[in-house]
Every structure is written in structure tokens, then in C-alpha cells.
């Protein structure tokens, strides 16, 4: 009689794994990356490579310091790539490298690595760079010129000089801005791919973009301009859907999207920055633990929806 393996049920597992999801995200980012390189030239490629390498290297070193095994699961690559995509095309490479290193070291590894971070590492990297080198982070190059002619982003133009950019340019990406944020169409292709594969939930991007559109419309702004301009698409499809830092319930994801949408509009209209996608997601990341705690699905056979369940009896 052979020695058999005994393990608890279930005895079959789905073939979806962390690696598979991560590499699908990378594939979904290819159109965006290609657009970035096409519009802003070869320097962009260096920025992307620098970010990815720096992210991988930092993760390796940090895990070694922590005495853990380095696993090539693709998450560091995504962090590096996403960070690169939300940086200005002309950013000095050393800044990009520091940003990626900061993102991985403090936003990810300090919390215990993949799965434990509170904030989206790529966005922390971007926020860190914005706070550290505001000038470099707001120096935009003109698309398709391949030399550093500085211009303003569509949102900047709109905020400072009240000039609206044509929709077609916003959709195709023929405007200045961060590497990966300009072409709404390319992002949409990747996003739809991920939604179709069911790796991301459609609720987040839809509620996020929807909120921005509705709120912009309600406040007398051009909703289409507001959803196409800036990094809203990139944020909505790739950052606000990051598993680790967003709510785990479907309703929670809708709340997340709505909250982020409101913050984006508030920052764009009265804030100190022309764009607020990065900060809006970071702020909602901070709210995520609270959302997770209080927004729970209704349990089968349990009538009442109970909010504030566990804190009810702790006061006394």
C-alpha cells in the first residue's frame, strides 16, 4: 500500500496565482508604456528601466536584511513600472531611482512585504518625489518633440489659464503629462483586459471615474475633460484596484472609489495642486482599514446589517 498524502479539502485549487495576476497586470500596462515611449522619447525607457531595477534591487536588499527569501513574484516590477508611469518624462534618472527605492523600502518592505503594506508603494514613491523635488516633478515635456521643451499639463493649463485641451488629444495621449497618464485609450485597453480576466473589480474604476464625472458636472465643470485629463484613468484602473491597499468587499470598493473621486475633484478645484489622483488614492488607502472593518457583506441567514459590530461592547 503506497503512503498517501492527506490534506484537508478542497483537493483542487484554481490555477490563478499571485504571479499570474502580477504578470497579467504587467501585460495590461504594455500599451500604456508603449504610448509613453512613443510620445516622449527614449529617455522614458531609461526612466522605466531605472525604476524597475531600483525597485527590484531595493526589495532584494531589504528582504536580505530582514532575513527572508526573495521571491520574484512580479510585484516589485509592477511597483517600479507604475511609479515610472506616473513620473514626468524628463525626470533625472537618479531621482527616479530614489523614488522607487523609497517606495519599496518604506511603503512595502517596512510593513512586511507583499500583502502587508497600507499604502500603494508606487503612489508613495510619487508623493515622496513630489514633496521632495517639487520643481523637477512639475517640469513637463512636450509630446513628440523628443527634447525638453517645458509645457503645462492639460490640467495645469485649465487651472492656471483656463484653457481646455481637445478631447481627441486627451484620449490619444498627444498632450504633456506623466509618462503613462496621457493616453486614456491605451490605459482603457489594459484596464478592460484586466476586468475581462476578472483580475480587477470593475466597481472601483467605475465608481471612481463616475464620481469625478458626476461631481464635475454638478459643480459646473466639463465632466469629460475632467475624466480624460490627468492621471485619473491610470489611477482608477491600476492604482485604485491594487489588491493590497484597497477594501476587500465589493461595497467597500465602491465606497473607496466614491471617496477617491470626491477628493480628486476637491483637490483639482480648490487644492494647491493641479492634479489630485495620487493623493486621493493615498488618502483612501488610509481609510481602507476602517472601511474593511465596518463594511461587511450580509451573512446568509442573518437579517440585520450590523455596522460597528465588534466595537459595540468594548466601551464597558
Amino acid at each position: 500500500m503506497p503512503e498517501l498524502i492527506v490534506s484537508p479539502s478542497p483537493h483542487i485549487r484554481s490555477d490563478v496565482s499571485i504571479e499570474k495576476i502580477m504578470y497579467s497586470v504587467i501585460i495590461a500596462l504594455i500599451p500604456t508604456t508603449a504610448c509613453g515611449i512613443y510620445f516622449f522619447g527614449v529617455h522614458v525607457l531609461y526612466v522605466i528601466i531605472t525604476c524597475i531595477l531600483s525597485a527590484l534591487f531595493t526589495e532584494y536588499v531589504a528582504l536580505r536584511l530582514m532575513g527572508r527569501k526573495f521571491v520574484m513574484d512580479g510585484s516589485a516590477v509592477i511597483t517600479g513600472l507604475l511609479l515610472a508611469l506616473c513620473l514626468p518624462p524628463g525626470l533625472p534618472l537618479w531621482m527616479a531611482a530614489i523614488g522607487a527605492a523609497f517606495a519599496i523600502a518604506f511603503a512595502k518592505c517596512a510593513f512586511g512585504g507583499l500583502g502587508h503594506n497600507i499604502f500603494n508603494p508606487a503612489l508613495i514613491g510619487r508623493a515622496f518625489l513630489t514633496a521632495s523635488w517639487p520643481v523637477a516633478m512639475t517640469t513637463w515635456t512636450k509630446p513628440l518633440t523628443y527634447d525638453a521643451i517645458t509645457t503645462a499639463t492639460p490640467l495645469g493649463l485649465w487651472k492656471m489659464q483656463n484653457i481646455a485641451t481637445p478631447y481627441i488629444n486627451l484620449a490619444l495621449g498627444n498632450v504633456s503629462g506623466c509618462i503613462g497618464e496621457t493616453s486614456a485609450l491605451a490605459i482603457l485597453i489594459g484596464g478592460v483586459f484586466l476586468i475581462a480576466k476578472r483580475y480587477i473589480d470593475w466597481r472601483t474604476p467605475v465608481s471612481y471615474i463616475g464620481t469625478v464625472a458626476v461631481l464635475a458636472f454638478a459643480l459646473g465643470q466639463d465632466p469629460l475633460f475632467h475624466i480624460l485629463a490627468g492621471s485619473l484613468f491610470l489611477g482608477a484602473f491600476f492604482m485604485a484596484t491594487d489588491y493590497v491597499t484597497t477594501p476587500i468587499t465589493r461595497n467597500g470598493r465602491i465606497i473607496f472609489g466614491v471617496g477617491a473621486g470626491v477628493i480628486v475633484v476637491v483637490i483639482r478645484l480648490i487644492g494647491g495642486y493641479p492634479e489630485g489622483v495620487c493623493f486621493s488614492i493615498l488618502l483612501m488607502n488610509a481609510f481602507t482599514p476602517l472601511i474593511d472593518r465596518h463594511v461587511r457583506p450580509r451573512v446568509y441567514g442573518v437579517k440585520r446589517k450590523r455596522f460597528f459590530v465588534s466595537s459595540a461592547n468594548e466601551g464597558d
Binding site: F111, G112, G272, A286, P289, L290, D316
Partner: protein
């Protein structure tokens, strides 16, 4: 009215008392381990801060300013606040022992909570009216509670996290606070 809204938004978001002014850090790190106690502490601070703003304002305006005793504001304020907090402490201890237990040693520390003293001083410095002071005090309390709640949520989740040994407990709390402060920079430069 416009003015009050500006004060409120300023105190809650733009110049958040914890994340931007560095006031009240001891309870921010001390009581943020559980959401429930964070909520309790937060409400205590909101209450004390509002009342302290309301009490210190007349004393400053009608007692210290007319007699040119501005230099004594530190002493006066702290005495007023200390007395007031001690009263609150006694009340909670008597009627809400559970809450008292949860807040532990931090309730007496509200006395020395620089946030409350700081708000009183800021009110004096900015020259707010009575209503302005109260709104400022209340909003600062809300800002404090908001930051505390977010922090407690984060730390509750971190209990499951596989934080490296050298970052466990306080260091990771500081890192979280740093990242939270980074996120709160969203509101810097906000104008109404």
C-alpha cells in the same frame, strides 16, 4: 460664516494638528492601537479642546489683555486646562469606568496634551473671536480624531502584518504616520 468654514477646514485638513503641527503626538501613538479606544480618546479630546477654547478665550480677552498680563498666558492657560481636565477625568472615572480603563494613563495625559494647550495658544496668537476660537478648537479636535482613527485602523491591520522585527511597534507606527502625513499633503495649499 465663510470665515468659520475656512477655520474649520484649515484645522481639520490643511493644518492637521497631528500630522502638520506635531501636537498631541503622545496620545496619537499611545492610544491608536485599537479603533474603539481611539474613538474614545478622540471624543474626549474634541470635548476638552472645544471647552478649553471656550474657557481660555474670555480669560485671555477679559483678564489678561486688559491688565497687560500677556506674559502670564502660559501659566494661566495651563492651570485652567489642568483643572478642567481633572474634572473631566473624575466624571468619566465615576460614571464610565470601562472607558476610563480603556483610556488608561492617557486621560491624565490630556492635561499635558500639547494639542489642547497648543490650540488655546493658537487661538490667542491668531486673535480669533470667541466663536472662531470654539470652532477652531472643535475642528482641531475633529482633525485629531480623524488622524487617530486612521492611525488606529492602520495599526489594527498591522497586527496581522509580518513587520520586520526592528520595525515592530513604534518604528512602523512612525513610518505609517510619515506616509499618512505624506497623504495629508494633498490638502497643503488648499484655498477656499
Amino acid at each position: 460664516m465663510e470665515n468659520l468654514l475656512v477655520i474649520a477646514v484649515g484645522a481639520i485638513f490643511v493644518n492637521n494638528i497631528v500630522l502638520s503641527r506635531f501636537l498631541g503626538l503622545c496620545p496619537f501613538f499611545g492610544v491608536s492601537k485599537k479603533t474603539s479606544s481611539a474613538l474614545g480618546m478622540g471624543s474626549a479630546v474634541i470635548f476638552v479642546m472645544t471647552c478649553a477654547s471656550a474657557i481660555t478665550w474670555p480669560i485671555y480677552t477679559y483678564l489678561l489683555l486688559p491688565f497687560n498680563l500677556e506674559f502670564m498666558r502660559t501659566v494661566t492657560f495651563i492651570v485652567v486646562i489642568a483643572t478642567f481636565v481633572q474634572l473631566i477625568e473624575m466624571v468619566i472615572r465615576k460614571y464610565k469606568p470601562g472607558l476610563y480603563k480603556a483610556l488608561g494613563i492617557y486621560l491624565p495625559l490630556i492635561t499635558t496634551n500639547c494639542a489642547i494647550m497648543g490650540v488655546a495658544l493658537l487661538n490667542a496668537e491668531e486673535g480669533y473671536s470667541l466663536i472662531g476660537s470654539v470652532v477652531n478648537g472643535f475642528s482641531a479636535g475633529i482633525g485629531f480624531t480623524l488622524a487617530l482613527l486612521l492611525m488606529s485602523g492602520i495599526r489594527e491591520r498591522l497586527e496581522f502584518a509580518d513587520v520586520p522585527k526592528s520595525f515592530q511597534d513604534l518604528p512602523i507606527a512612525f513610518v505609517s504616520a510619515a506616509l499618512l502625513a505624506l497623504a495629508f499633503m494633498a490638502f497643503s495649499g488648499m484655498r477656499l
